[in-house]
């Protein structure tokens, strides 16, 4: 079965600092991968998705970017964090042949001060 690892679990960063969140997937190959953000008191917002290595689609224009350097690695980055980037970041993968069902990682709590 598939497992999603997210690192780090929690992060506190000052405004203007860079960001790198990592997501790795085990137990499946060639997955579709997704980055979501949950701001306080809000639902899930899809940020990026990827159907393969080097292929990134952005859903929301902002100061974040994503990269997929390997089949099972998905990275969320920023050059300069804003206060509004605070939130809970979730990585997910789509299971092939499973009616678009997505499997979620444990999340990263980011606080920007």
């Amino acid at each position: 079965s598939q497992t999603i690892h997210q690192w780090p679990a929690t992060l506190v960063q000052p405004v203007g600092s860079p960001l790198s969140l990592e997501c790795t997937v085990e137990g499946t190959s060639n997955p579709n991968l997704y980055w979501y953000r949950q701001a306080a008191g809000r639902g899930l917002q899809l940020l990026f998705y990827s159907v393969g290595i080097g292929q990134i689609s952005s859903e929301v224009p902002q100061n974040l970017s994503a990269s997929r350097p390997q089949d099972r690695q998905f990275i969320l980055s920023s050059k300069k964090l804003l206060l509004s980037d605070s939130g809970f970041y979730l990585c997910a993968c789509r299971l092939a042949g499973r009616y678009n069902e997505q499997f979620f990682g444990p999340g990263t709590r980011l606080t920007v001060l």
Binding site: N100, E101, F103
Partner: protein, 110 residues
């Protein structure tokens, strides 16, 4: 295009009483429907899913949901709430991609 509306942002029940979390969807095609649960500071866990088979779907932890095409609804129910059910619940509709509802926070009082 598809969309989903969770009719209650917050539901509060007493332990041992029934739970009803309401979800309505809109879709041009036959959708797949899901309910996910999220405990504080945790990822989302799949509770159950509807994929055009039986309209009454049973999930984990005693939850079930009924797909009603005529009402475009997919409400989540449980006969008897437990304290551990307190969490955020998300209804999701999927045709080509997944659309999440805004979530319903379930509180369970002792």
């Amino acid at each position: 295009a598809q969309s989903v509306t969770q009719l209650d942002s917050h539901v509060s029940v007493s332990e041992g009483t029934p739970v009803l979390l309401r979800c309505n969807y809109s879709s041009s095609y036959s959708p797949s429907l899901f309910w996910y649960v999220q405990h504080p500071n945790k990822g989302l866990q799949l509770l159950l899913k509807y994929t055009s088979a039986a309209t009454l779907v049973k999930g984990i932890n005693g939850f079930e949901a009924e797909f009603k095409k005529s009402e475009t609804s997919f409400h989540l129910t449980k006969p008897s709430a437990h304290m551990s059910d307190a969490a955020e619940y998300f209804c999701v509709v999927s045709v080509s991609d997944m659309r999440f509802g805004a979530g319903t926070r379930l509180t369970v009082k002792p």
